[in-house]
């Protein structure tokens, strides 16, 4: 006696969250059944393995049929074939677009192309995430990227509107898209200590302040969104950053800056002497990062540079985070007292964001 056909169709589509997770994690039906058995479900419910097998198959089939719709979540909401309560729809979408930290760290900043897709095998081996799951996550990134790539308006809003994700997840996707678009290097060994959250935090700051979309500042006129592009860094701004060179090129200005910072921080900083000794190096590092951003190559290496030029030196001198904060605050604020320096607004736009990023990047 073999089962030829075995289906269950509810007027309300049944979704088993546990099985959904197993499916998303890319397990085969057989593996999923084995995992469910191990979870002790048979004992709890008194079911047999055959029942579990049939149930799992059924859910997998349902998810497989739903997957097409999940690729365009608004379709899931407006299709008529599967009657799913709104809360369940939201859960399906949210979980489908959720990703693994380990996976996203591997792909973040890489071009979402066929080439990268081929590397998924390696990523799967390295992270222990099934290839199937890697593919799903990669395809999600790529799909979101494709849809919002050419769109105007807020990146987060676009993601949210077209994929119906929660605010949190939409922000993450905005970061992923932003990183992929600007191809920031995140995979270097010295960046390994950074989490996706760190990068996403930086991405958000950069999107808010350094992109074309950020220029339109006061969005009093809703039509101004026409020019609001969140994906690309503001080229003009990057060009202008060259003007900051004077802060380190002009020796007087550099000395004046240093003395202002040192005066203000004397007695307040545990690592004062180290700061005083390193000031010029640190300042040169931070300003040089700014002036190089006109080159694509250097944009990509932004995080590498920040870590190399600022995070690592401070860390080797054992600066506590509070001291880093005090220093950066003072370092940015003191520039306003430099009479010879004319690019205050530019400096603030640059340093405001960079300060936020550095503080986030500064940990072990």
């Amino acid at each position: 006696m073999t089962s030829e056909l075995d289906i269950f169709v509810g007027n309300t589509t049944l979704i088993d969250e546990d099985v959904y997770r197993l499916w998303l994690d890319g397990y085969s039906v057989g593996d999923a059944v084995a995992l469910r058995v191990r979870s002790g479900i048979l004992e709890q419910t008194g079911a047999t393995a055959a029942v579990l097998q049939s149930d799992t198959m059924d859910h997998y089939r349902t998810f497989h049929m739903l997957e097409r719709l999940l690729h365009a979540p608004p379709k899931l909401l407006h299709q008529l074939i599967y009657q799913i309560p709104p809360s369940r729809q939201a859960l399906l979408i949210e979980r489908y677009y959720a990703f693994d930290e380990a996976f996203v760290r591997e792909v973040l900043g890489k071009k979402l192309s066929k080439g990268t897709k081929k590397d998924l095998d390696d990523i799967s081996t390295k992270t222990g995430i099934t290839l199937k799951s890697c593919r799903r996550q990669f395809d999600n990134f790529k799909r979101v990227f494709k849809v919002v790539e050419e769109m105007r308006g807020s990146l987060v809003d676009n993601v949210q509107q077209h994929f119906l994700l929660s605010d949190r997840l939409a922000r993450d996707y905005a970061a992923i898209v932003f990183f992929a678009n600007n191809r920031f290097e995140t995979g270097k060994k010295k960046l390994q200590y950074l989490s996706f959250g760190d990068f996403a935090f930086c991405a958000e700051l950069m999107i808010q302040n350094w992109t074309l979309g950020a220029v339109g500042e006061a969005p009093t006129d809703p039509d101004s969104q026409v020019d609001d592009m969140d994906m690309d860094l503001d080229k003009e701004f990057l060009q202008d950053l060259k003007e900051l060179k004077v802060l380190v090129a002009d020796k007087d200005l550099l000395d004046l800056h240093k003395s202002l910072v040192c005066t203000a921080l004397r007695g307040k900083l545990g690592v004062f002497s180290e700061m005083e000794a390193n000031f010029k190096n640190l300042s040169r590092g931070l300003v040089n990062v700014a002036t190089k951003l006109t080159h694509n190559k250097d944009v990509r290496d932004l995080f590498v540079d920040l870590v190399e030029k600022f995070v690592e030196p401070c860390r080797s001198d054992h600066w506590p985070l509070s001291d880093v904060r005090l220093f950066l605050n003072q370092y940015s604020a003191s520039v306003h007292s430099l009479d010879g320096f004319r690019h205050q607004a530019l400096w603030d736009r640059y340093m405001g964001t960079l300060r936020g990023c550095l503080l986030r990047l500064y940990h072990d």
Partner: protein
């Protein structure tokens, strides 16, 4: 009454890409009704076209309006080649033809293609303007309402229940026409879908005509089925119960005395308002005036006058003579009625007086080509024969009527088994009258009868019983006799006193049969049938006793014929009726008592069985109050007859009473283990696993013992097909396979629905088919309903009060509820039982008389056991003072509040006639849909499971879309009548036909009704999620 049909095509969405080059579609729409076709403009290069067409107007006869579906085809325009069809939508406009149902059909419909499934959606608006026309010789029956629900629909009151209506139409099946060889599968499928749609329209119209001639305005319990007879044609047949319904629209409608004719009745020109004193009725279904059919039997259309008004003053106390008079009249009315059948399974309190037991008839026929579709006499005659038999069975049980009546077929190649079954019953003479005054008197007469047991009392003469039964005095009232076991096809009457909870009981059976052709095959089947009926009945009886229960409701025995086997599946809901005696246990007796080890084995088994019974009693909370023997009185002394119920009528009966220690004086059911067969039986008894804790199941509408339903419901369909290993198939192996299949299926359901615990599977409906030699297909449709365990106690009380209240209102309704014929409550003059009985027993199987004789002894047995299963009793109505109609009246007012919004987008589906925690406020019309889906890329669609899963999901979606377009938010009495699945994996092909029906309704949550104000804000947020317009 011609009418104008107006259609507007608004927009489409999610269309498939038809032009690969541009990834877009140039869509336009053809709107066809009858022979007229309109087209919209082409909306170029869009997957979401906005046609916003003008109103397309069709001027048509109402006959066409009833028969024809509106056909909408979406196409992709192609400049150089033929336009490609994207898909179609068929819209049944029938719901627009009676005024108080839907007024407009408007909404998104899935665009369906028989090869590709659903491909996007289309937004359509449909309206109908009817012109009044009082032509009495009309062919149409616009205005007659149809309900699938097998009880009086919730927002109606039955003025008269006229009785049985039936009709069938036949045609050639397009799939088997020569042209099918040269046309595409798509064209063939569409031809079939269209034909069936036309035929069911025609059928409904013809039934409607009969109803009008009977002066009714509605059909309740409408059941329409298709017989795919293959080469020999396609039969669409329907049965139902004609009624005159009155809408409960205002409190005034509750007022007693002669109710003014209601609105609907005025609309239907043929309906006479009920008048006092006398009523003219038609007793027999009248064949259509169209002359399209010859009447196979004579059919009388003479109105019968029934006097009810005479001496209304004096009749009160003189119950005897008065009743006798009534009886006479009833009886004569009955005799003139061709078939006193009712497809209803639930009745207003007091309608059912006594229940006699299950009556059923089967007949094996050889199909031959239907030569002239306009003269479907053969099929008509077949059914008439079977119905006649049912009628005589009922008579034999001392009953005038058959309730819970249904018909079915099973076809394999050219052999067809026709089955009919129902419950013999005596109906209340009170319903003969239409006046309120008399009704009140009658009611008073019955006031001193105890509640909750009347229907169990035997309708036949105990000295002249149609079959041996063990009678005792009713355990409830101790005045009347009751049988020891009661089987019925109806729902448990609401006023029945039940102890504990009920449970689903199934008997499953397979019998191998040699492959044969034509007559030899039919003969073989006919010979097997009696054995199967007998076995099925034995199994049911054993399982019932094992559960410690004494009555079955909703019994449905399905016999399915295949090439090389017969399958029998009986499902019913077992309960413990307080009025019936406690069932005895099951006693195992060995044939060779000298063998020590054997005896040990036997006693071991016995212990197991006793343990199971005890466990079941605990599980289902069956703990009847102890009653001392004296009070009950001595049972009727007929112990000997019991032996006829035993498997072999040999030595055992004396022994039994002695052996039966555990169950005292009560009779035990004896199983003799004398061969392996019996062994199996015992084993199979014990293999049925009870549902996991927190789960209950039944196949009736309501689960006895549970009444605190919460609002969560989940309707589902589950299908399983197993392939039997073809080698060495034995009956035993087959039985085991089949048993496992059903048991596993149930287990899977329990597992899948575990998140709903505590819950009950209601209306569990199993269908078995044998699509191929080694394939068994089981289809289950049911609804899981959650209930609140904690509230159980309080609600029981509340429920009682409620039901009392309900009863009272119902009673009032009933006062104006004269059944034209109905029978007497005094069973003193039963119909001559025995002879008729045996005569009718010979199933009219189309086999030679000689063979019949051979079977006759068996048939007798079966008669005794299976067909005329025992009788039951209904308790006469609760005697409550007439309360004011305020209860219902209040509800009405509240229900008028516009709260449909809050559930936009969600359409509930349920096989039940109600929605827990909600009130049905409006019936929008019948949903009756037929779909075919075919694929030539089975593997790519996920194999047979993927294919069928998607198809059933699509069918649900299309049903929901139609309901939503009618303005409804639920389908009640939903049923999947057919699910024919065929596969050819080698060719990577599969085909499936599905037929579903139900009643589209608008319901409002009870809580919403109460707090109209608070639900307003909720209405705003919910649709945003599901129903809101898309921005894409």
């Amino acid at each position: 009454m011609p009418g104008k049909l107006k259609v507007k095509i608004v927009a489409g969405r999610h269309l498939p890409v038809m032009d690969r080059a541009s990834d877009l579609t140039d869509a336009f729409v053809e709107v066809k009704f009858g022979n007229t076709t309109f087209k919209t403009d082409v909306y170029p290069k869009s997957l979401n076209p906005q046609w916003n067409s003008e109103w397309f107007k069709f001027e048509v006869d109402d006959e066409d309006l009833q028969d024809e579906p509106l056909q909408i085809t979406v196409l992709d325009h192609d400049t150089y080649s033929a336009n490609d069809a994207i898909g179609k939508v068929y819209i049944d406009i029938d719901p627009l033809l009676y005024s108080e149902a839907a007024t407009v059909i408007s909404g998104w419909f899935p665009i369906y293609d028989t090869i590709h499934g659903i491909r996007g959606e289309i937004n359509v608006v449909v309206k109908v303007d009817l012109f009044n026309d009082l032509n009495r010789f009309r062919q149409s029956s616009c205005g007659v309402k149809f309900f699938c629900t097998t009880s009086i629909p919730k927002c109606y009151r039955a003025v008269i229940i006229h009785g049985f209506v039936e009709e069938l139409v036949v045609n050639e099946d397009p799939e088997y026409q020569w042209i099918d060889r040269i046309r595409t599968p798509r064209a063939s499928n569409e031809a079939r879908q269209r034909l069936i749609s036309l035929m069911s329209g025609e059928l409904q119209r013809k039934i409607g005509l009969k109803v009008l001639e009977m002066r009714g305005n509605a059909v309740v319990g409408y059941l329409q089925c298709f017989d795919l007879e293959g080469e020999s044609g396609l039969v669409v047949r329907a049965i139902g119960t004609a009624c005159t319904l009155d809408k409960l629209s205002s409190p005034a409608a509750f007022l007693p005395a002669c109710n003014s004719p209601s609105k609907e009745m005025k609309e239907s020109p043929l309906v006479h308002p009920p008048s006092h004193g006398c009523r003219s009725t038609h007793n027999s279904p009248i064949h259509t005036a169209t002359g399209s059919r010859l009447t196979q039997n004579f059919s009388v259309s003479v109105p019968t006058l029934i006097y009810t008004g005479m001496g209304s003053g004096s009749a009160g106390k003189e119950g005897g003579p008065f009743k006798a008079l009534l009886r006479q009249q009833t009886q004569s009315a009955l005799e003139q009625r061709e078939f006193p059948f009712f497809t209803l399974t639930a009745f207003p309190p007091g309608f059912l007086v006594h229940v006699g037991g299950v009556v059923s008839a089967r007949s094996v026929k050889l199909l031959d080509r239907i030569h002239n579709p306009d003269e479907p006499e053969t099929r008509d005659a077949w059914w008439a024969e079977i119905r006649q038999e049912i009628k005589s069975h009922a008579k034999a049980l001392g009953c005038h009527a058959v309730v819970g009546y249904s018909e079915s077929t099973s076809i394999c190649e050219e052999v067809c088994i026709l089955s009919a079954s129902g419950t013999a019953a005596v109906l209340n003479p009170r319903f003969l009258q239409d006046g309120t005054v008399e009704g009140c008197l009658e009611q008073r007469l019955e006031e001193n009868l105890p509640a909750g047991c009347g229907f169990c009392h035997i309708p036949y003469d105990e000295l002249n019983m149609p079959f041996p039964a063990h009678l005792t005095y009713c355990y409830n009232c101790r005045k009347q006799k009751v049988p020891d076991v009661l089987f019925t096809t109806i729902d448990l009457p609401t006023d029945a006193t039940v102890i504990g909870k009920g449970c689903l009981i199934q008997a499953r059976l397979c019998r191998l049969k040699k492959k044969a052709q034509a007559e030899a095959n039919a003969t073989a089947i006919s010979n097997l049938l009696p054995f199967m009926e007998y076995e099925v009945h034995t199994q049911l009886m054993n399982k019932l006793k094992l559960k410690g229960m004494n009555a079955l409701f909703g019994l449905r025995i399905q016999i399915t014929v295949g090439e090389n086997m017969l399958m029998g599946l009986a499902s019913a809901t077992g309960v413990y009726l307080a009025a019936l005696p406690t069932p005895g246990g099951i006693q195992i007796a060995g044939k060779t008592p000298n063998d020590g080890s054997y005896e040990q084995h036997i006693s071991h088994m016995q212990k197991k069985i006793n343990d199971t019974i005890a466990k079941n009693k605990e599980l289902y909370e069956i703990n009847p109050p102890e009653i001392s023997e004296e009070i009950i009185g001595s049972p009727i002394p007929e112990p000997r007859q019991r032996s006829r119920l035993l498997r072999s009528q040999s030595e055992s009966s004396d022994e039994v009473t002695e052996l039966d220690l555990s169950h005292g004086k009560k009779d035990a059911f004896v199983l003799e283990i004398d061969d392996t067969d019996a062994m199996e039986d015992v084993h199979s008894l014990l293999t049925d696993v009870p549902p996991p804790s927190g789960f209950y199941s039944c196949n009736t509408e309501i689960m006895p013992g549970i009444n605190n339903w919460t609002s969560e419901i989940q309707m589902f369909t589950s299908v399983r097909v197993i392939r039997l290993s073809s080698l060495n198939l034995t009956n035993h192996a087959l039985n085991k396979n089949f048993n496992d299949l059903c048991e596993n299926l149930l287990k899977s359901l329990y597992f899948k629905l575990r998140s709903m615990i505590p819950c009950c599977l209601c209306h569990v409906n199993f269908t078995v088919s044998l699509p191929e030699d080694e394939l068994i297909q089981v289809t289950v449709t049911a609804v899981a309903i959650t209930f609140d365990k904690n509230q159980a106690l309080q609600t029981t009380k509340a429920h009682v009060e409620k039901s009392l209240q309900r009863a009272s209102t119902d009673n009032e309704e009933l006062l104006q509820f004269p059944l034209e014929l109905c029978s007497d409550s005094l069973p003193s003059h039963p119909f001559p039982p025995a002879k008729e009985h045996l005569e009718s027993a010979s199933s009219n199987s189309g086999i030679p008389a000689a063979q019949r004789d051979r079977c006759s002894s068996w048939i007798e047995l079966i008669k005794l056991k299976a067909q005329t299963i025992r009788r039951g009793s209904i308790k006469t109505t609760v005697t409550v003072e007439k309360t004011s109609p305020m209860g219902e009246g209040n509800f009405r007012n509240r229900s008028a509040a516009p709260c449909a919004n809050s559930t936009v987008g969600v359409v509930k589906m349920t096989p039940l006639s109600f929605i827990p925690g909600a009130k049905i406020t409006k019936y929008l019309g019948i949903i009756n849909m037929f779909f075919i889906r075919e694929t030539t890329s089975l593997r790519e669609e996920g194999g047979v499971s993927g294919f069928l899963h998607a198809f059933i999901a699509e069918v649900f979606a299309m049903v929901r879309a139609h309901v939503a377009a009618l303005g409804g938010n639920a389908v009640v009495s939903y049923i999947m009548k057919q699910c024919v699945f065929m596969e050819n994996p080698n060719k990577n092909q599969a085909q499936c036909l599905i037929n579903v029906s139900g009643d589209a309704v608008v319901f409002a949550r009870e809580s919403e009704l109460e707090v109209v104000s608070t639900q307003q804000p909720a209405a705003n947020c919910q649709p945003a999620c599901t129903g809101g317009e898309v921005t894409t």
